[in-house]
Structure formats: structure tokens, C-alpha cells
Assembly symmetry: C2
């Protein structure tokens, strides 16, 4: 029997490439939607050329495009007509072109709405589909820079720092998924579709909202403060013998427990450290004292002792630790094995949204370029084998 996910029966036409858009449609597919990824004939999604490669296949692509069907289609001429036929049978279209691209093809939301007013149109772009900067190119680094995220990440005296992943892309991919699903609910109730417009920059700005309040209320420009937080201490990273860990002693009681573990319970009550606000003021001194202790032990020893005493703590994991962690990779299934027809058996990311009744899961590997052309053009549009062969011949698909 076919797997039934939460979004079973929802059909998505997926024009997205690279990261932000494919991350959205990956989540929709993991949750059971039928996602038909439409790629440029011969070439496909740019990310098919991005490493690392397994037997010549891009793991970047294979990770983000599992559970999707793959077809090829040139969106001009006869291909445009074919696309519009598919739109009539779809619930959702998602694209992450530069704003205006779909309009130039005659396939903007207003065009698609005419053939299917129930359609939900989700789009991700650097700056969004309206506003003075809408035509600017928008990559992840642009989103991280423009939004203020980089300006608040890093160390005092150091340079603005980007997050070590394409975070603006990820935030936008998550956010457009939310908008699409809310629009789906509205469409189910009212029969009316709509456009959901999400920008990398807006999404990164939204992630900063507490930081923004510091400026909005106090007029103070938030600075880079390393790994500590503005309001509590010691809630920071500390070096150990063999790496680093974080300790989250967010209140006086937890601080007292840290001092007990350090073998100096009286330290907690010294007048310059006894209240949280004083520790925030004297954070440099507190860090030195705590680090004098942590530097004498291993990360594992420290984390075990702190957790046993009820103090929030964790190792600062490198990726090899994460990928092999019994909780993360084991129980939470954040890395899973699939079989790919060319790459063979490989590990990709699992899904991080755990649902008790309709468990999101990986059912099929990412498609080869045009792998589902015959199936989709036959079953969805009713084209004959001869017609499909002619489309291939003319390089329309």
C-alpha cells in the first residue's frame, strides 16, 4: 500500500532550484505531497553540479530532492501550454526565480490564477516580489548581510560573521512552507488560492526580532558579543582540555551549582558574582574563573558532571560527532540511509518534524533528470507514447 503522509493528495509543481525552494518542497514531499520537480531539459537544477559527489551524482541535489518526481520541460512555446495544463491539475506551484522571471514567461501568478483560481503560488527570492530592491539579485550571503544577522554574529573587535550554513536560504524555505500550508487551509475552506511571497532578507530579519528590539527601544546598536547572551551569565562557551562546551547557568541557583562542581561553593556568593546582573557586568572575570576549571577536564567529563548536577550543558559538536550521535542520528533519525540507482547506498538527512500519526519519511531517492517524464506526462496529462517521444525529439521535455 502506498504511504499516506499528512499531505497525501496534495500536488505540487516544483520549479525551484538549489536550496531555499527545494528545501520547502522537500518538506512538503517528506510529509506526503506529490511533488513534481520540473527541470530544464538536458541541464537540470544547477545544484546537480554541486559537490560533494557520489558516483558522479550530487549529494547536495540528492539530499534536497528525495521523494520528488522529476520531469523536464522547457517553459516556452509548446512547453508553456503543457505547464498550464499541469497547473490546472495542481494545488501548489513553488518557484525561486528572480522576481519578474515568471511574468516574462507569461506564467506569473496572475496568469496562473486565470487557469486555476484555487492555485497556491509560493515564491522565494532575495528581496521579495515588491519593494524598491525587488530586482536585486539575492543569494544567501546577501540575505545574511542585509538583514543585520552578520552584524550581530562574531566576536568583539572582530569582523561581522556569517552563519556556517546557508541560513537565510533555510529560514526562507521554512517560512514559505508555513505560508503555503496556511494558504492551503484557506483554499480548502474558501476555494480561493493566493500568492505567498517570502524573501531571504525578510526571513533573516524575522529571526532577529529580540535583537531588533534592543535598537528599537533603547536606541543601542547591538554588537557582536561572541558566544555569551545579553541578559544572563555564565551562559556561554568555555574551553576544555580537548575541545569546547557550552554551559547555560541561566539563574543564581544554577550558578551556585556550577561553583559547587568547581569545588568553590563560596565563590557563588561573592558580592561581585552573587546576582545574575552582576555576573553579566563582570562576565569577563566569571569566564576566566570558570574556564580555569573547565581547562583541567575533558568535554565529556564536564558535560556529564554538569548534567548530573542539573546544569544545562552540551559539547560543541563537530559534524562527525553529530552524524554519529546516538540521540541525533539514532533515536531521532536525523540521518538515514537510502538506495540511489546511481549513487548506491548513502546517508542523507532525515526529517526534523516528527509527527505521531503520519510520520514524515524518505520513500524514494531524488530523481534522475527526467526520470518521471513518461509517467507524469502519461498519467497526469494523458499524452500518448508517440506524443511524449515527439516532445523529447523537439527538446521540449
Amino acid at each position: 500500500m502506498e504511504y499516506q503522509g499528512a499531505l497525501h493528495g496534495v500536488r505540487v509543481l516544483d520549479l525551484t532550484r538549489v536550496l531555499a525552494g527545494p528545501f520547502c518542497t522537500m518538506m512538503l514531499a517528506d510529509m506526503g505531497a506529490e511533488v513534481i520537480k520540473i527541470e530544464v531539459p538536458k541541464k537540470g537544477d544547477d545544484s546537480r553540479q554541486f559537490g560533494p559527489f557520489v558516483n558522479g551524482e550530487s549529494s547536495y541535489y540528492m539530499n534536497l530532492n528525495r521523494n520528488k518526481k522529476g520531469i523536464t520541460l522547457n517553459l516556452k512555446g509548446r512547453g508553456k501550454e503543457i505547464f498550464l495544463e499541469m497547473v490546472k491539475k495542481a494545488d501548489i506551484v513553488v518557484e525561486n526565480y528572480r522576481p519578474g522571471t515568471m511574468e516574462k514567461l507569461g506564467l506569473g501568478y496572475e496568469d496562473l490564477k486565470k487557469v486555476n483560481p484555487r492555485l497556491i503560488y509560493g515564491c522565494v527570492s532575495g528581496f521579495g516580489h515588491y519593494g524598491p530592491y525587488k530586482d536585486r539579485p539575492g543569494y544567501d550571503i546577501i540575505g545574511q548581510a542585509m538583514s543585520g544577522l552578520m552584524s550581530t554574529t562574531g566576536w568583539p573587535g572582530g569582523e561581522p560573521t556569517r552563519t556556517g550554513t546557508a541560513m537565510a536560504d533555510v529560514l526562507a524555505g521554512l517560512s514559505v512552507t508555513i505560508g503555503i500550508l496556511a494558504a492551503l487551509r484557506y483554499r480548502d475552506v474558501t476555494g480561493i488560492g493566493q500568492k505567498v511571497d517570502v524573501a531571504l532578507v525578510d526571513s533573516a530579519v524575522a529571526s532577529l526580532e529580540i535583537i531588533n528590539q534592543i535598537y528599537l527601544v533603547e536606541g543601542r546598536i547591538p554588537q557582536r558579543i561572541g558566544n555569551r547572551y545579553e541578559s544572563t551569565y555564565p551562559y556561554d562557551s568555555f574551553r576544555a582540555k580537548d575541545g569546547s562546551l557550552v554551559i547555560g547557568a541561566a539563574n543564581d541557583k544554577l550558578w551556585q551549582k556550577v561553583c559547587e562542581l568547581m569545588g568553590d561553593p563560596d565563590l557563588a556568593f561573592r558580592p561581585e558574582f552573587d546576582k545574575n546582573y552582576k555576573r553579566v557586568q563582570n562576565h569577563e572575570e566569571v569566564k576566566k574563573l570558570v574556564e580555569a576549571w573547565t581547562m583541567t577536564k575533558t568535554v565529556d567529563e564536564l558535560v556529564d558532571a554538569l548534567l548530573a548536577a542539573g546544569v544545562p550543558a552540551a559539547p560543541i559538536n563537530t559534524i562527525d560527532k553529530v552524524v554519529n550521535d546516538p540521540h541525533i542520528a539514532g533515536a531521532r533519525e536525523m540521518f538515514i540511509e537510502i538506495d540511489h540507482p546511481k549513487a548506491g547506498r548513502m546517508k542523507i538527512a532525515g526529517t526534523h518534524i516528527k509527527m505521531s500519526d503520519t510520520k514524515p519519511c524518505v520513500r524514494t531517492p531524488a530523481p534522475l533528470l527526467g526520470q518521471h517524464n513518461d509517467e507524469v506526462y502519461r498519467d497526469l496529462l494523458g499524452l500518448s507514447a508517440d506524443e511524449i517521444a515527439a516532445l523529447k525529439e523537439q527538446e521540449i521535455i
Copy 2:
């Protein structure tokens, strides 16, 4: 007429505190759901004590809790019965307690399902509701550290670095919202509710998926590489006369345009720089050459010239620039003014999910503690004024 959002008619009981959970229910409320925030009598959400403050009111709280109704309720004894009555009339419950807390109260998902099998139960926690680490405390910094995010953020030779916002909280808040909305679709179709379990750690791991592939495929542990990316150069930050900017010259053609702007078009074709992979190898030298040019001009001059030449570029904005930007704050309405009964007129974050037909918006300021007790207990549960007064008297609400 009352505003109709995409989620109009959806009722949410919101037990969340501080950031990850409230960020989820904020988005649901912005999109039109009726969110009833349930707080501990007398004390309320911890974040009511978090600065910055406006006339004694927390802007942290006011930002994340706009559009919500606020009631107080002690979840033990008679309060538990009252909560279960409300669950019968709700579509969604969201909580971000440590796993097991709701079960101890007799209000875990299995308990709530008995009184309302259609209910969707969303929960956010540090490590999720199952797995060996489920009982560990999980703050944002724990999520950023455990997931590998910190290990890949920062500078070569420098320390692992956290993102300048509570990114693990934000990612989890976005992710649980996706799961809840997918579950809502499934519930609408089948009548069956379910539990959506999202962990800070899992959410941060999911944000790293391309980075994880570097280890999974190549066995290489991804390092901190500052602001450049692994696969393309110059795609990095550069210092200018008066600040820093980012340039995203992701291919040979864009690199040639940068060299033209630098007044040295031949540089683009020098054998050590003519192909992208060579520039990645020689990124230190390329950075020096480009920075020798950028250091002679202002950020604005550089960004204008680069954009005019079609090269992706942006200033690394500080928060004051973001909050006053004509695109971000203006056209995209990422900062909006509201009137709060105590704080007065103030600016909070707008919503970053732009929907054409049911525009998410801020209709009401965050509630004062217990502000909607009378309204909710009367209209939703049909309690009399005397009954409500007695509940207050007994400190149940």
C-alpha cells in the same frame, strides 16, 4: 468587520513561554488563528521579565505575543478540569515545557487525545520527546552547540561561534508551525489529530544539511571558514573605507565584471584566477586584491557600482540600518507601529510571510496578564461572572 486571516476559525491553546513556542503561535495568530495564551496566575510568561522595557512592559514579550488573547490558569486541580474543557473546543495545543511536564500534570498528548481526538498537539523542546537525551534541559545555546552549527560558524583558527540571534529557537519555532499546519490539513481531511514533536537540536541539524553531506560523503569534518563559502570565490565579505560589504561573484562572468570595476580587466584572465576552482584555491590572494580596491571606497559607492554592473552585492547592515531601510522597514513592512495600553506607541516586528489574499497583520497588542480572562471564560466556557470571580479569589485563574 473582523479581519479574516488564512487561519480564521482555527483555535489555539498556547501554553508556550519565552521564544521558540511563542514564535510559532505568533505566526499562527498573525495569520488569523484565535490564539489563547495561557499563563501562570500572578507571574505569567518568564519573558515578561526580559528587557528591553517600555514603561515597565517587556518589548520581548510584546513583540512575540501580539494578536494573542491572554488568560491565566493554574493547570492543577480545578484548573486542570477547566483546561480540559477548553481542549474540547480547540483545534491546536502548543507547549514548550521540558518533555514529561505535561504528562506529570495528566495533560500529555495521550490524555488530551481522549477528550479531543481531533486535537493537534505541537511541542518544542531541546532534544524532542523521545530518545536518550530527552530529559536534558535544552536552551538555544545547547541547540546551537549540539547540532554542529557553532562548530562551522566563525573564523579559521578562531573559536566556534554562535549565531547572533537565538537561531535554534527560531528554527524550531518555524518547524513546529509547519508540522502543525500539515497536521491540520490531515485532520481536516480525516478527522484525526496527532502530536507534532520538534526539537531545537534536530531543527538546527536540519539547517546544516549541505554541510553534513561534506562529512557523510567525503569523511572531511567541515571547518570554520569565515565568510567565504566552500565552492565559489569571490563570494565573501570585504572591508571598505567605512564598514564592510559582501560580494557574490558566483561565476567567471561576474568575476570579470568585478575586475572591470577594479580597473584591471586583465586580472580576471590571469591563469591563477581565470576559473572559479582556481579562485577558490587562491582565495586568500583574491581577497587581498579585491580588498585593496574596496578599502579605497565607501560601502555605498561599492554596492551601487557592483549592482549597476549586475554583480550581487550588499552592505553588511547594522541593526540601525535595517530598522530604517526603505525596502525592509518601508515597502516590506518588517517593522510596524502598534499602540499598547501601557507601553504606548511602539515599533515591533512585522510578519515576514506575505500573502496576497489574506495578508498577515498585527491587529492587537500583546495582552496584559489575564486581560482576556472574563471574555474567554465567559464566551468559550460559559462561566458566569460569579464563577469567574470565585476562580480569581481561589487563585485558579
